[in-house]
Symmetry: C2
Subunit: 516 residues, 2 copies
Amino acid sequence: MSLTLSLQRSMQLTPTKTATIFGSRRRSFQVYGERVARLAGALRALGMQPNERVGILALNSDRFLECVMAVWWAGGVLNPVNIRWSVPEIVYSLDDCDTRILIVDDAFAPLAPRISATARHAPLFIHADEDQTPVGMHAYEALIDAHDAVEDAGRGGDDLACIMYTGGTTGHPKGVMQSHMNLWAAAVQRLAETPILRNSTALHVVPLFHIAGLGRIVMQSIAGECQAVLPGFDARQVLEIIERDKVTDTVMVPTMIQAVLNHPDFHKFDLSSFKRLGYGASPSASVMVEQAVRLLPHVELSHAYGLTEACPVVSSSGPAHHSEAARKSGLSRSAGLPAFGVLVRIVDADGNEVPRGVVGEITARGPNIMLGYWNKPEETARALRDGWLFTGDGGYMDAEGNLFIVDRIKDMIVSGGENVYSAEVENAIAQHPAVAMCAVIGIPHEKWGEAVHAVVVRKPGTELDEEAVRAHCRKLIASYKCPKTVVFRDELPLSSAGKILKRDLREPYWPRKAAV
Amino acid sequence: MSLTLSLQRSMQLTPTKTATIFGSRRRSFQVYGERVARLAGALRALGMQPNERVGILALNSDRFLECVMAVWWAGGVLNPVNIRWSVPEIVYSLDDCDTRILIVDDAFAPLAPRISATARHAPLFIHADEDQTPVGMHAYEALIDAHDAVEDAGRGGDDLACIMYTGGTTGHPKGVMQSHMNLWAAAVQRLAETPILRNSTALHVVPLFHIAGLGRIVMQSIAGECQAVLPGFDARQVLEIIERDKVTDTVMVPTMIQAVLNHPDFHKFDLSSFKRLGYGASPSASVMVEQAVRLLPHVELSHAYGLTEACPVVSSSGPAHHSEAARKSGLSRSAGLPAFGVLVRIVDADGNEVPRGVVGEITARGPNIMLGYWNKPEETARALRDGWLFTGDGGYMDAEGNLFIVDRIKDMIVSGGENVYSAEVENAIAQHPAVAMCAVIGIPHEKWGEAVHAVVVRKPGTELDEEAVRAHCRKLIASYKCPKTVVFRDELPLSSAGKILKRDLREPYWPRKAAV
């Protein structure tokens, strides 16, 4: 299978149907597809080699969709850069997988000089936006105008489609290698389980550089349906676009959904076209779910648990898990059943399956599981064993096969839908000369699900306050990774092996888990 | 992906749910899966090597389902033998792909001595049925009892899953190599397009050695739903099992459907559980469709066009193509739209796409397209070009993308759902000493769709009548391939290149195609 074959199919079968909506701009499948094929021609003319990485650092737009498809059409590999990253983080990812062509929009074009100055190879920039193209960059529309459509390179199967960076437990982001097969299988498995909405318009609100966004691009492409795009999250704009463009379904993180439901003008909008609302990436969303059921009674709720390494869905729950009975029994708090085509096992430290109800590490196998981490054989060997992905997440499975997530073994914090690895934040804090020792944990946060919390031990005779820690971190890592709160202690609880006992640090903040 | 992973998933998530129904025997997923894993252990203990072919020559049964899964579980490749073949044809397929283990039921056990006597390697037989196991064969239930369950071999991706023989234009059957990916993608694409019936019971009536049968085994396995099996087609049994086991859906060829609809006791059965009826493999089914709509108004009709090389679906039509308007406009006679994930092009003799409405050869690409023909690089190169399958079928695509099949370029006859290649029948007839020349064509037949018709030129001074031709053929080829009618002529119409002009032979029998 090829991720672009479905676009060719739509160009053939429904050329005049609307493919993309962005603001007042609508493009048909014919126009969208032709632009993709021309942009692919431009990429090749710019020197893009087969399987070369092409980066995109941009807010959501219809052009983002075109770039994704064009890179694949040209036979390249997509590197969708996290828009919340600092320049050193961006450069790390470009250097790591040797990305020499970078597509940027107006929001990120100003970073170009700093990227060029520090990257191993100063990238060739393509400017894809409305403002005037900065000097030294190629203009997106001019490239499309100047190049003929090329034939689809026909990549597929185990060919690499995407390298998507996630935070690493070792302190460095890891490039998750997703094949065409991985992304295609993940999408088609999900479609098999959740019937397609015919003549639908899916709205992209979550960042498209995320697998949650990219995965839905693939799904909607296979379904041959329309995609509407918002540049980023704004509660009023979400309401406006649902009404105006008759959006049928979207996926958001719970904090976004709550902002939409709580918007003062919520009741003024006609949301009758809206049929499905997916959410994910939050330890607990009960309050949001109750509110959504009340305010959007005609909308089907679905919840997915996944990770970039699984492209992304491992398990999901649908309407049956959101019924009144399910909300009362607590079933609605589960991450649902293993996805179609995915086998899940909860295992102990030795890799043996544990009985139902017992907490262990969640492992998964299926055609959607990544090829591995780019140039990181050791991390790959740890994550993929005998075909099984070791997720690093803790959970249990009930008698009916429902998955419940209870902990993160790999020490990761999910804040506002973003994964923050404690190790990355700890590395940043530790670089401050006044820090003797530190530990970073996630603590409950009403709006973000979890908040990044740092516990710091100062070096004797130094001074350091909360704001200084945050200011120091902001220079090194994305602001969403910087600690929201910092406390200072004289010492940290250590195990006999000298390892920081994070469990002890977390305990005061988290209610004790109910016995399984 | 692996074709057995879904069985593991069902064993884990719904162990007590009914997996298979055969007569009064019902087996849960737990029992079914354990039997599969033990049978896989037995196959390995019998010496089956990784990727070795295992044949099955049997009527439909729940054991057939177990055998399919067990061969894959053990890491083998399935060779599902056509039950209508003559012994020389059976032996040809066993020899061709070196099949040394053959599973037979009571119906075919009597052929064992003749198979052993003529096959290059006398097969090791496994007897899978109720009667006493013939001397020299291994007893199926004893094997399952005697062996422990083994781990799933975890085959997947481009690993070969099945070699399925189809008639060849050159006169010899060709082994279509279907990978795990091919079969999995074909099934999941179809599920994505046609929402799963939850808590369904699919009935297998068409022979399971056919891709139409095997494809539905895979689909229902991925969906984790129940499969009921009839040993073969019988109109009353179909009605009985729908009522008794609350069958929700099945696929039949039009001649079978008509026999069911025309059954004198049709109205005595409660068919309220029945929701979907698929059909295929017939040039024209308008009469059947009208009758089905009248007698089964609550049932969704779907039609698929496909071939073994596409595992099998290339295009399909659903309820929208069977509405009153569609039946009036003739849209219901189309083979529907290209399947999800499948790209279809109608091309001229040079391989260039023709405009809409113009007849050409139907070509298709997608993840469901076979790997090639076993040990037949030349035939493979003819059928697969640049990733496209050349189907040998003629057709056109209308403005909306609907596919209409108008002719068979590869000179094949579809009679009662079976493909008959003219060349094979011609080869058989030509071996009679009194035959100077012959041509075989398909002519319309009320019951079978098409009937095999032979036009024969006798050698001067010889005598030969219709019955003698048929008797001669029955010794060499399956009876469904033998000519239903034979006419004798003094000469055959020839082209300037000396090629028989079959179009001229067909003309008196077929109404002129409507202008496109």
